[in-house]
């Protein structure tokens, strides 16, 4: 995938470029907002990662200008401004997601995956499968090895996100955002508590664990490898 990174902090930029290249992406890096805007207009790329505060032209203006010119390039904002208002502003301007510095690299990867899939994967599914676990999105039931698992609302939402991202890392922050709609750091064990209950229902009665903890980052769901 071809990615544009507009970031004026060289250290952060080098780190992201190296990480994403390692993941097999081709990354172009620019440090100026105006350069980033013209790059997006005249080059083909799959995703732009924009810092909010850039010299020349700030990230928000770049996206506004892009959208005004009819460009629908997926955009991920990367910023030290992490308040709810900024987030709302960024998304309203036409950004697809918003990630606050400092962040874990896996969080960035997860967000990029989510954005790109949202753009390409438009077909709706009614069931999700991971190994021997099936989630029926219409009937809102989970079954594993033929037995029905009784789930709370939140547990169902967590499982759905994990299964939609099967094989990929789902970060704690992403779960807080998608399941609880928390756009702040709640300083609680909400995710951990629900995850341990969910595991008690989904994994414990069976021999093969499907939910795996990625230390300090989040969770990943996959069958035995």
């Amino acid at each position: 995938m071809k990615i544009l990174l507009a970031e004026d902090d060289t250290k952060v930029a080098d780190y992201i470029v190296a990480g994403l290249s390692e993941q097999g992406h081709s990354v172009d890096h620019l440090a100026d907002g105006r350069d980033a805007f013209s790059y997006c207009l005249y080059n083909d790329c799959d995703l732009a990662i924009l810092d909010r505060m850039l010299p020349g032209m700030d990230g928000l203006s770049v996206v506004k200008a892009l959208r005004a010119s009819g460009n629908s390039l997926p955009v991920l904002f990367l910023t030290a401004l992490g308040q709810v208002d900024d987030r709302v502003e960024g998304l309203a301007a036409g950004g697809d997601d918003y990630l606050t510095k400092p962040f874990h690299f896996s969080e960035l990867v997860a967000r990029i995956d989510a954005i790109v899939r949202r753009k390409t994967d438009t077909k709706t599914v009614s069931t999700l499968n991971v190994h021997d676990l099936t989630l029926d999105l219409l009937a809102r039931t989970a079954t594993r090895q033929g037995s029905v698992i009784d789930l709370h609302n939140k547990e169902f939402s967590i499982l759905e996100i994990l299964m939609r991202n099967a094989g990929r890392v789902v970060t704690r922050t992403l779960l807080l955002e998608r399941v609880w709609n928390f756009n702040f750091e709640p300083n609680t064990t909400v995710v951990e508590t629900h995850m341990s209950r969910l595991r008690g229902k989904v994994d414990k009665p069976f021999d093969t664990p499907l939910i795996h903890t990625i230390r300090n980052t989040g969770y990943s769901m996959h069958g035995p490898r």
């Binding site: 709810v84 400092p102 939140k154 702040f184 750091e185 508590t193 230390r215």
Partner: protein, 457 residues
Amino acid sequence: MDRGDILSGAAFSAVFRSALAFIVMLVLFGWVALNYIERSLITELGDDVQQRWNIIAAEHAGEGEDHMVQAISDLAQGGTGGHHAAALFGEADALVAGNIRTRPKGLGLQVGPLDHAAASPDDVTVDYIHFTGPVDDRTLVVGLRLDLLYRTKVLVFRALTLSGFLVVVTMLAVGYYLSRQSLRRLQDIETALSKTSEGDTAIRIAEKGGRTQIDRIARQMNLHLDRLSRMIETTRNTAAAAAHDLKSPLGRAYLSLGKAIEQVDRGEDPDAALTDTQDELEKMRVIFDSYLQLSRIEAAGRAQFSARVDLRDLTTDLVETFAMIADDAGQSLSFDVQRDQDYGISGDGQMLQQMVVNLLQNAVTHGAEGNRISVRLDRSQAEIRLAVTDTGPGIPADARQRVFEPFYRLDPSRSKPGSGLGLALVQAIAERHRGRVALGDNEPGLIVEVVLPGIAG
């Protein structure tokens, strides 16, 4: 105290201007009064002179010329220093008898100098009031020196000048005193303010308990200084506590990173040490984020919110989530909501969500196993009340105000998790929504009550 400052003071300059006005008035009225006195005295003396003339003329008519001459001599010699003047002139204005050497020109009552035989004692030409008239073929002149008039005028003039001078001096002295007094108070205020700006928060303006404008201003300023010093105090505490709270995880991160480096050097697996480092950095991030958010909310002012947030839906959802957390901690969480009420408020859903999360999280974190947490939502008229009650350790009454300060912790060892910003955020969010937070005693345990204005209807 600088004299120039006192003389330019409001009290002194007001008095100074009044004194000038007083002097002008005094000169004006004095002049009028003197003129009046002069005129009435001259009229009176004129009557007197005329009467004397009539009497002497009557002597002539009744007793003959010798008698008249005698009366003239009596009159001329009577009195002292030529106070009286009388003379009889014959043909060709020759003096027949009396003490006037030359016959004055003209007839009738006149005011002017007379050629008196006795020079005036102080050698000053003095005016007389005199009456000249014919008696048969002679001319009789009777006059009276106008000393009384002049003496009266001098007396009145002196009295006016002296009293005017005394009044003006007194006024200026009083003005100077008042000006000095107020300047002293103003200097007190100035000193207090400059000391405050240098960081002395304990200084206050001495209050005299009076009712002057300066006393009122002094009281107002002291109240203001009270608030200011509380604020400075809080900010100082906050900065110190923030530094402390950030330094601890930073120190631990250093240590575990050092450990990881050693492990790498020794060819061991640094994984655990690196994870510890990351954990500590994460804690710092949380503190920074919360603190930034707090400052944002506090700085945002009280702009109107356009969105309607249903507090019942919001609380129900969060209670459901936290019931599990409480359950895991061996605690219970119950929710009680008064039905048939509207729990809509204009606000920011995200902020309110965070407020309720902080309240619930606090109750779970500070309570031990067996803690019973109950959440209650009700509405009376325009006010929506959200009360979170627990049976945990509670907060002592004397610390209930301080726990709202950022980074304030009841537990100085900071062994409980948390940034110390939870209640500060709750208060900031409540106030941002024109609400308030109060802490109470559940005996044992804590009651946190948030009151928010509901949407009418």
